[in-house]
């Protein structure tokens, strides 16, 4: 089926059994709520257009805390407005899925595709030490597949999961197929279902006593550590014998892939290491690759954000170069190829 990314994510969420969607319109993701308005309601679920992104994320908190499979979607400015809510979701361990179709910033910026929310997505869920699990699809099929995974991870870790797509991924169409609707055994023993069976339950993030809050944070950290061990996903393309590795995710990784092919055609042994989970970041894969390649070239549609994770993983073993386009400009394969050639020259020196 030929489908827009936004619609494919929506349909995948439906297959994953999403029960409620709360959101607020914003380009370039409005097709997602629009799809939900048509389809989710007809399939017996809850669709509600909230009065704002702030309200939407707090509705997600309520519904998620009550045990529903729930999601929202938005784009960069909307995610900024959700930061407090995200921090509460992490603190209260409410599972849910948030889609961010990133657009050019800062401020109102524009509606062109960007990757400049990487830090916001991977470094902090609002204030405090909480984290989101972050998945970065690079095709529409992958967007659909990761959406289904996102719901499962959210529940396995009782943590919000973000799908981070560069705006265009929501707008463009590609062929996509879906699994049949899934049924999942779900443990809701923690949820405030108001069933009155057993001891009362609490969805909460306040721990006034610092010692208690420390313990709570340590529990959260333990989850992240587990995710770092068990959930890390990445793709290696032509990395077997690569001398130079491009690091890129999402749309930039597609461009990079074309560039790698062009480089190979010109005899330059380039490869691509594409993180699929941005948090937890595939640090080990990069560390390992650093033993084999001569240099990394991080390509991003940002001023250089993921490159920090690459540098933190590589820890000076080999040089890490960066090439970024900003403000919604998508780099082209020839541009990236040229960068690769420069890096090759630099490294040869």
């Amino acid at each position: 089926m030929l489908m827009k990314g936004n619609e494919a994510i929506a349909e995948a969420a439906l297959r994953a059994g999403v029960q409620a969607y709360f959101g607020y319109p914003i380009t370039p993701q409005s097709e997602l709520p629009e799809y939900m308005a048509r389809e989710l309601q007809q399939r017996g679920g809850v669709f509600l257009q909230a009065e704002s992104e702030v309200a939407a994320i707090n509705m997600v908190y309520g519904a998620g805390g009550a045990g529903a499979r729930v999601m929202t979607s938005t784009s960069s400015p909307g995610v900024s407005l959700m930061q407090e809510g995200l921090s509460y979701l992490v603190g209260a361990e409410v599972p849910c899925v948030i889609v961010n179709m990133v657009r050019g910033g800062p401020g109102l910026g524009n509606i062109a595709p960007a990757q400049s929310d990487y830090f916001q997505a991977t470094r902090s869920a609002g204030h405090g030490d909480g984290r989101l699990i972050v998945l970065a699809p690079s095709t529409i099929q992958e967007a659909a597949d990761l959406t289904i995974l996102a719901f499962d991870l959210a529940e396995r870790y009782r943590n919000p999961v973000m799908i981070l797509g560069d705006g265009i991924l929501g707008q463009m169409m590609e062929p996509v197929s879906f699994p049949p609707p899934l049924r999942r055994e779900r443990d809701l023993s923690w949820a405030t279902t108001g069933a009155g069976d057993g001891p009362r339950r609490l969805i909460n993030s306040i721990y006034l006593d610092p010692d208690e809050l420390e313990q709570h944070n340590l529990r959260l950290l333990e989850k992240y550590r587990r995710a770092q061990q068990e959930e890390v996903r990445w793709e290696a393309y032509r990395m077997e014998d690569a001398v130079l590795a491009v690091a890129a995710y999402g749309l930039a990784a597609r461009v990079a892939r074309s560039a790698v092919d062009r480089a190979r055609a010109k005899g330059l042994a380039a490869g691509l290491l594409r993180p699929v989970t941005l948090f937890a970041f595939p640090a080990a894969a990069f560390r390992e690759a650093a033993e084999r390649v001569r240099a990394f070239l991080a390509v991003e549609m940002s001023a250089g954000q993921m490159v920090e994770d690459v540098r933190l993983a590589v820890e000076g073993r080999v040089p890490v170069f960066f090439y970024g386009r900003l403000g919604g400009v998508v780099p082209t394969p020839p541009e990236v190829l040229q960068q690769l050639e420069q890096v090759a020259a630099e490294v040869a020196r």
Binding site: I168, S258, P333
Partner: protein, 187 residues
């Protein structure tokens, strides 16, 4: 040709995205990899709209094309913007009903199609986009007309099936015009 890249550009409301979608859909029906990518300005109507379609046998890398080998321009601003970007020896199809200046570049293949007039003759000016699609397919037969027909049938709701016929005649007419011009130009 392993990869076909086409940019269609014009005003919002000229059916640019639909043109691209018909092509993309047909390509899917023929088992190809496809990306269809829209871009528009802030205007809902009357602003600029652009659509990029990539069709390939291999997995598609970038859906964004900076130097397209084929462009359909449907208004004057798009002509200004895309004429310089068409790849050398590429194809530039111009909606000459609205674009009132000739092509300046000498290193590209050009088709001038009076699409609005042709469509009006066929019964609906709004089918101008299909005339242009027909012209494109005559120059670059990346998908079969049968696939295009099936795509149209799947995309249009049953109550608007009459449009399929109109659109197919428009595509056919566009093909004729293109073939005529190509013959003259020996492209």
């Amino acid at each position: 040709m392993a990869t076909t890249e086409l940019v269609i550009a014009g005003f919002g409301g000229q059916g640019i995205l639909f043109l691209g979608e018909v092509l993309a859909h047909a390509a899917v029906l023929e088992g190809k990899n496809v990306t269809w990518m829209p871009a528009y300005g802030p205007e809902q109507r009357g602003g600029t709209a652009t659509c990029t379609v990539v069709i390939a046998d291999e997995p598609i890398g970038s859906p964004v094309v900076s130097d397209p080998p084929a462009v359909i321009v449907m208004n004057r601003p798009s002509m200004e913007k895309f004429e310089p970007r068409v790849r050398s020896r590429g194809l530039l199809i111009v909606n000459s009903s609205i674009v009132d200046r000739p092509v300046r570049r000498g290193d590209v293949r050009v088709l001038m199609v009076d699409a609005v007039r042709e469509a009006t003759v066929l019964g609906d000016a709004r089918a101008a986009n299909m005339v242009l699609l027909g012209a494109f397919l005559a120059a670059e037969p990346v998908v079969s007309l049968r696939a295009v027909e099936q795509a149209l049938r799947e995309m249009l709701p049953p109550e608007r099936v009459a449009l399929v016929t109109l659109n197919l005649s428009a595509i056919a007419r566009g093909g004729e015009i293109a073939r005529e011009q190509m013959l003259l130009q020996r492209v």
